[in-house]
């Protein structure tokens, strides 16, 4: 199981939890598992999120590996100038 931290405004869509646990070995699997466990998160994830794994922000790559001890934080999607 991987623990995923949600930003505050997402928590109400995941039973009010700051962190939720899901199964997954890649960013893509974790996002799929989140939607499955908490369907209310789907529109947010669909409209774009970034995922920080151990401090590195993953912008697009769904295949990025995630370990069971990784720190995983969901962030609003980032772009730059």
């Amino acid at each position: 199981m991987v623990e995923v931290a949600l930003w505050s405004s997402l928590r109400s869509f995941a039973g009010g939890n700051e962190k939720v646990e899901v199964e997954g070995e890649t960013v893509g699997e974790i996002l799929d598992a989140l939607v499955k466990a908490h369907p209310g998160l789907e529109p947010h994830i669909e409209s774009g999120v970034s995922v920080a794994i151990d401090g590195r922000i993953i912008f697009n790559s769904l295949s990025e590996p995630v370990g069971p001890d990784s720190e995983v934080v969901l962030l609003q999607q980032l772009k730059g100038g």
Binding site: S8, S9, F59, S61, V73, L75, K79, G80
Partner: protein, 746 residues
């Protein structure tokens, strides 16, 4: 792809070779967006709404179509129906549908045989408007009775019961801020405002397009992302992305503003209708009225501090107006605000708000500079209130490796402390200050970005190299790509020609944005070179009839890896290349990935400013930029990014602003009254490159383009506030504002 520990000695990286496009650019030969011409070319002109908010009742093109030389007119009806989400927003912005949403919104376009004929025809297109109430201020746009820009545009997660103009909400943080504020010896809360500023690139948007009725199109344009242009044009015209080939011209500045698409789909639509090439070039006033400025903001920041300088809690509410569409970078503003500091209790809220202004576009670290202005101002006031040194306080609270950042992640290796220590030791910080002058410092933060990247590296038979990258060169990146390729291959820099490949000849590349080019295209270049080397080694191994694993690449040659591998004369790259047709065919190295190791970046700026207390005029007299570059590939262009960001920040802080009249029209749509810094406004800008390697890049590169604009707003506000003894809370800190503050304080 992680930091390559073995690579610590560099031959070319860190040197300052001449840029490969240099001679073209000093002789006038370089071809920018507006410099392309085609046989039979027509000129386009765009009709724009003079109203901030109006229903488009009727567009009568008959007079224009009857004029001499006019070949085609397009309106929204010439674009595809049924788009959803952000693509619909882009189309609506490129060509208005039912309503004109801001002064300058495109409503029709025409092409004719000359620019004068096209402009005259545009004037002859009669548009009937029904004027609607408008709003351009962020706080007023959130108010209950504000005119509605559009219903139903709010993103998921936006709290219910808000005005329809409120289209996005972000909340994040950790700890208990109320508890933290209770522990503080001093708590300061202040409201700040910043006006919208424009990226102000000197080259207006320009493109040349052709499109046949077979759906195949060609576009030449100045853009930060030509693959993105192809994608958007295909979507808006209802054709396939692969059928639109886009070539990126030389680009005359972007700073985020050329990540958006404005005229290319219009030029294609005109070209298709007229069946001739069409060139569209924006005027400067069109650039200001219709392309993306940054958001204007209204922000409340509250910070608590103990007598020893420890920050006990910080909270902020950041309201950003992003024009007539969702997308203001409110979440970035919120997430960047407190990122430089290790805080136990922090909470940040961002609001994305629509108004009757042009759709905001990214501008260098979108959202971050405004946050720094508010936060770093309050920190300075706390230092003053508790009689503490501003650098010591920042050092005490600085984020480090292992800090749980305000926006949730745990920082890896970062260089904020190093920039602060350099700042403290810098002669500027201890230099005596002139009478009546003030000194200000500020820190700044930006995430940086990786993104989809493809690079191809082909050898010629004479041993020279053609390097194709897909990220438009907005500030000298062809030089640094050449350096990295040459470093890996072990050949002279001059033997490499780096080209920005068009969309038909390379895999998809994300836009040149997010300070990603030297990081991501650089990483891909290194990997493409290493792929090439593997192929070169394999050819040598085949020739020597040894295992490819037994061949190493050193100093531009394939060599046996050791005595056990056998004794062979090293083979140079040129030697292998000369026979490649007979040893297995062309040698091309390539690399495609979405590198995700962009290291975050921090900077600390020091600035001295003098204020004329009788006129409110401010002069910046000394400026020092200290920033972590991870590893500077070409130090001159790293310094250039530092200096350019500082200069833009100085303009933003002191003079630049979007000024709207009561009628909702932009009053300063030109360089005369949109006042970017001129040469005589600025001092030399000193730079210190700090190199704390990014663990996510083979050489340790961090992007440098954006972070440099994060601290200046706050640093200058702190300097001016110190000079006049009054906290300035609104940007720009213009002379009338300073005089009014001084008079108010009397």
């Amino acid at each position: 792809m992680a930091l390559d520990g073995s690579k610590s000695e560099f031959k070319l990286v860190g040197t300052r070779p001449l840029r490969p496009d240099g001679i073209d650019k000093v002789t006038g030969r370089a071809k920018f967006g507006a410099d392309a011409y085609a046989a039979g070319m027509l000129h386009g002109a765009i009709v724009r709404s003079p109203h901030a908010h109006a229903k488009i009742v009727k567009i009568d093109t008959t007079k224009a179509e009857a004029m001499k030389g006019v070949k085609a007119v397009v309106t929204r009806a010439d674009f595809i129906d049924g788009l959803k989400g952000e693509m619909w927003n882009v189309l609506e912005n490129v060509m208005a549908g039912d309503k004109a949403l801001y002064d300058g919104h495109a409503v029709a376009a025409v092409c004719a045989t000359s620019t004068l004929a096209a402009r005259d025809a545009a004037k002859a297109i009669e548009v009937t408007y029904e004027i609607l109430p408008h709003v351009t201020d962020v706080d007023k746009a959130m108010a209950k009775d504000a005119p509605v820009i559009r219903e139903g545009a709010a993103a998921p997660g936006t709290p219910e019961g808000m005005h329809p103009n409120v289209v996005g909400y972000h909340e994040s943080g950790h700890g208990d801020v109320d508890k933290g504020f209770a522990e503080a010896d001093l708590v300061i809360e202040e409201t700040f405002r910043t006006e919208a500023t424009h990226q102000g690139y000197i080259e207006p948007h320009a493109c040349l397009a052709t499109m046949g009725n077979d759906g195949k199109g060609e576009v030449w344009c100045c853009t930060q992302g030509h693959f993105h242009v192809a994608k958007v044009c295909a979507a808006l015209l209802g054709t396939d992305a692969s059928q639109i080939r886009v070539t990126a011209s030389e680009i005359g500045g972007g700073f985020g503003g050329k990540t958006a698409v404005f005229i290319e789909p219009v030029a294609l639509a005109l070209a298709k209708k007229a069946n001739r090439p069409v060139k569209v070039v924006m005027s400067r006033s069109e650039v200001f009225r219709a392309t993306g400025p940054t958001s204007s903001t209204s922000m409340d920041v509250k910070i608590g501090m103990k007598k020893d300088g420890t920050i006990t809690a910080a909270s902020g509410v950041f309201r950003l107006q992003g024009g007539a569409f969702p997308g203001a970078p409110a979440s970035f503003t919120a997430m960047c605000a407190f990122a430089p500091y290790a805080l136990e209790n922090v909470k940040q809220i961002g609001w994305d708000v629509m108004s009757n202004r042009p759709k905001q576009a990214a501008y260098r670290a979108p959202g971050s500079p405004m946050a720094a202005f508010a936060v770093e101002s309050v920190i300075d006031d706390l230092c003053k209130g508790l009689d503490l040194d501003p650098i010591d306080v920042r050092l005490k609270n600085a984020s480090r490796q292992g800090t749980k950042a305000s926006y949730g992640v745990t920082f890896d290796r970062i260089g904020l402390v190093e920039t602060l220590e350099e700042a403290k030791a810098h002669p500027h910080y201890s230099a005596p200050l002139a009478e009546g002058a003030g000194r200000g410092i500020s820190c700044g933060f930006w995430f940086n970005h990786g993104g989809e990247t493809a690079v191809s590296l082909a050898l010629a038979e004479d041993g020279t190299v053609s390097l194709s990258v897909g990220t438009p060169d907005i500030g000298g990146s062809r030089a640094s790509m050449g350096q990295m390729a040459a470093e890996e291959l072990g050949i002279p820099y001059e033997k490499i020609r780096t080209t920005i490949a068009d969309t038909a000849t390379l895999g998809y590349n994300e836009i040149s944005h997010g300070s990603r080019v030297t990081y991501a295209s650089g990483l891909a270049t290194i990997e493409a070179a290493r792929d090439t080397i593997r192929k070169l080694c394999a050819r040598a191994a085949a020739k020597w009839k040894i295992d490819p694993e037994a061949v190493v690449w050193e100093d531009g040659c394939a060599k046996p890896s050791g005595p056990n591998a056998g004794e062979f004369e090293p083979m140079t790259l040129a030697k292998i290349a000369s026979s490649m047709g007979r040893t297995g065919g062309p040698i091309v190295g390539h690399y495609e990935a979405t590198p995700e190791g962009a290291g975050v970046s921090f900077a600390t700026h020091i600035v001295d400013a003098e204020v004329d207390r009788e006129t409110g005029s401010t002069r910046v007299t000394r400026y020092t930029v200290i920033q972590d570059a991870g590893k500077a590939i070409h130090p001159s262009y790293v310094e250039g990014q530092f200096q350019g960001g500082a200069a833009q920040g100085i303009g933003w802080a002191l003079n630049e602003e979007y000024i709207y009249g009561e009628d909702g029209r932009l009053q300063n749509a030109g360089f005369l009254d949109y006042r970017i810094p001129v040469a005589s406004d600025l001092p030399m800008i000193d730079t210190v490159i700090v190199e704390v390697p990014n663990p996510g890049h083979p050489y340790g590169v961090r992007g440098v383009g954006e972070t440099s604009i994060c601290p200046p707003l706050a640093a200058i506000a702190n300097a001016v506030s110190n000079a006049v003894g009054i906290r300035m809370t609104e940007l720009p800190i213009s002379p009338p504002r300073i005089l009014a503050a001084l008079d108010g304080a009397k």
